[in-house]
């Protein structure tokens, strides 16, 4: 009996402390989900009163939920377009968080080497014009690799995805055929392939399906021990995705980045730059009606720009360049800046 009372008491106390916690709901990109989940977990340990519940449903979902007002902030790899921004009731700021790479990931039984892909071969595979692994257009870049005489099983994203945007943005830049037939967006009309849900789902399908190829953010390939390929960059070198090559891709952006931080860095110049790199953003409303939430979010952003960056390299993301960190710190101050009326919120 006493034990029962004790358990009840503990549960009640837990319930009370849970009730007192500051709960913030967020949703969006799966590209940075690995580091976001780590960040929000760590931040909760440092500040037990703050719970940031992040659901990785894809960049499209992040933008949609932010527009619908059902989350406190969103996350997307693709910067919001002017059209999307115009639909927001409250203007939102883009806060780049880390840099990542979208890599061609494959599962070919018997092939463990790192394959070399040119822009043309990637476009061909995803357009469906290159259908077999032992096609000459693939073998010529990879002498010495024994490709099977099997059909290529393409895997892409089934939902609105920032990762898809980065991938198709790159392909649009390097392949006029891709640009005219498919284009670049979070959700496109794929000529071939299966749809997987989230970076997680694509990785899941790749792991299960022999002779498959897809595109995922680097951490998902690395953690699931999937083979990734090198991509030929604008300078003509085959580069492997990693913290250094992604950082080099962002080198030019540090100076050129506009004030609202919306920029694409695919096919960036740079001898060893990885051509399919991208910033990823948190989409924070400019006016947050709840004062406690505002403090919590601002506090998190400050932590993210400082200590948070330390977690990047361990999860295969590249930390932000220092100049950009400085600019973002100034942007934090603009949230709920006095002088303008509070937005129509909850």
């Amino acid at each position: 009996m006493k034990r029962r009372l004790l358990t009840c008491g503990v549960l009640l106390a837990a319930g009370a402390s849970i009730a007192a916690a500051q709960k913030i709901n967020a949703a969006g990109a799966t590209f940075p989900a690995a580091i976001y989940q780590t960040w929000f977990e760590q931040y909760h340990k440092l500040h037990p009163g703050i719970e940031i519940n992040y659901q990785s449903i894809g960049s499209g979902g992040g933008i949609a939920q932010l527009t619908g007002g059902t989350v406190d902030f969103g996350a997307s790899d693709m910067p919001m377009t002017d059209d999307q921004l115009s639909k927001l009731k409250v203007k939102a700021f883009h806060f780049p968080t880390v840099l990542g790479a979208v890599v061609p990931t494959y599962n070919i039984p018997g092939v463990s080497a790192d394959l070399k892909f040119t822009p043309e071969s990637l476009a061909g595979i995803f357009l469906g014009t290159i259908t077999k692994w032992n096609d000459s257009r693939l073998t010529k870049d990879n002498p010495g690799v024994k490709f099977p005489n099997e059909e290529i099983q393409v895997v892409h994203r089934s939902e609105g995805s920032g990762t898809t945007f980065v991938w198709t943005d790159y392909l649009s830049k390097v392949s006029p055929e891709w640009k005219s037939k498919v284009g670049a967006n979070t959700s496109v009309s794929w000529p071939v392939g299966l749809g997987g849900r989230g970076n997680e789902g694509v990785a899941g399908l790749l792991k299960q399906t022999p002779n498959s190829i897809g595109y995922v953010e680097l951490v998902w390939a690395a953690q699931n021990k999937l083979a990734t390929g090198l991509v030929k960059n604008a300078a003509g070198n085959f580069v492997k995705a990693g913290v250094e090559s992604v950082t080099e891709a962002a080198a030019g952006a540090a100076k050129e980045i506009p004030a609202d931080f919306r920029i694409s860095i695919t096919n960036a110049p740079g001898k060893q730059a990885f051509p399919i790199s991208s910033f990823t953003y948190l989409l924070i409303p400019s006016k947050i009606p709840d004062a406690a939430k505002t403090d919590a979010i601002k506090g998190f952003l400050q932590w993210m720009l400082a200590d948070g960056q330390k977690y990047a390299a361990g999860l295969y993301y590249a930390p932000l360049p220092k100049e950009i960190v400085a600019k973002e710190t100034r942007q934090i101050a603009q949230i709920n800046a006095p002088g303008a009326p509070a937005g129509k919120g909850k």
């Binding site: 837990a14 319930g15 849970i18 009730a19 916690a21 709960k23 709901n25 949703a27 989900a33 690995a34 989940q37 780590t38 929000f40 977990e41 909760h44 719970e51 519940n53 992040y54 659901q55 619908g68 007002g69 059902t70 997987g196 849900r197 989230g198 997680e200 789902g201 990785a203 899941g204 790749l206 792991k207 951490v219 998902w220 953690q223 699931n224 999937l226 909850k346």
Partner: protein, 283 residues
């Protein structure tokens, strides 16, 4: 025996076997499903599963404690809403029916029963998530209760109808008003079946995932309030199963085992109630 007779007897034996095999195959499916869940799920069930929160991608050792609690919360609220409505609707259909209205209600109730769960989710989304501007466990509960109502209504009606008229007339003859008769005589007499229907209905909705996808959404923390996004076992199974991490797959299996354990236990319990009877003492 003529040749024709031998042929006919042969056909008889063959068809007996064939249909028996079909039955065996169907029942085998059940054992296969349970077998897989027990094998893969059993290996993955550990103390962590029941006590820990989900961890971020790639980390091992997380659990689904919040999803188990969340499922219980959502289903409890759904039952609180759906059981009374379904029960009283069933009482209406059996005891108080007006010819036309009752047949309309019956027809619409069957309609409601057949509506795909994802469409019910759309209803709850429009009704609660949009105006509240927030995903919440209670939106999920509303969706589930809508699914529960027709099940309970039909079962209640069916078992109340089976109560013999003599009981009703006896009560009336003793001077009871109609509602007294229904409440103190008819309902207790049909209580076994009604209870069965309620248990089966609740078991059915506790396994639903689609209506929760954009109502209760999901949560990696403990669900403090039913007005916040709430994790649930079926939704977690969905997300974890599709991923690539072996650890997440293990968790999906474990969650599947827990879920099916609950659902099947409820089903077996319900049928025991019906068979042996849990008699409700007359008031």
């Amino acid at each position: 025996m003529s040749k024709r007779l031998i042929w006919r007897k042969g056909v008889n034996a063959v068809m007996l076997t064939v249909t028996g095999v079909f039955t065996a195959v169907t029942v085998a499916f059940l054992f296969l499903i349970l077998g897989f869940l027990v094998y893969y799920g059993g290996r993955s069930l550990d103390w962590n599963f029941f006590t820990k929160l989900p961890l971020s991608a790639g980390e091992t050792g997380g659990g689904m404690a919040n999803a188990i609690l969340g499922s219980l919360e959502i289903v409890a609220v759904a039952a609180l809403i759906g059981l009374p409505i379904g029960f009283f609707a069933g009482v209406y259909l059996s005891e108080f029916e007006d010819k036309v209205f009752a047949s309309v209600v019956r027809y619409v109730s069957d309609l409601l029963n057949g509506i795909p769960s994802i469409v019910v989710g759309l209803l709850a989304w429009g009704l609660l998530v949009v105006p509240m501007r927030q995903f919440s466990g209670v939106a999920g509960s509303i969706a589930l209760s809508v699914m529960l109502i027709p099940i309970v209504a039909r079962q209640t009606e069916q078992f109340l109808r089976e109560v013999p008229n003599s009981l009703r007339e006896g009560a009336l003859a003793l001077g009871a008003t109609k509602w007294r008769m229904v409440a103190t005589v008819v309902v207790p007499a049909g209580s076994k079946g009604i209870l069965t229907g309620m248990i089966l209905g609740v078991a059915r909705i506790s396994g639903e995932s689609a209506p929760l996808l954009f109502t209760a959404f999901n949560n990696q923390f403990w669900n403090g309030s039913i007005t916040q996004p709430t994790a649930s076992l079926p939704v977690m199974i969905y997300f974890r199963a599709l991923s690539a991490y072996d650890d997440w797959h293990r968790q999906a299996w474990a969650a599947g085992l827990v879920l099916i354990g609950g659902v099947l236990t409820a089903n077996i319990l319900a049928r025991l109630v019906l068979a042996k009877g849990v008699s409700v003492p007359r008031g």
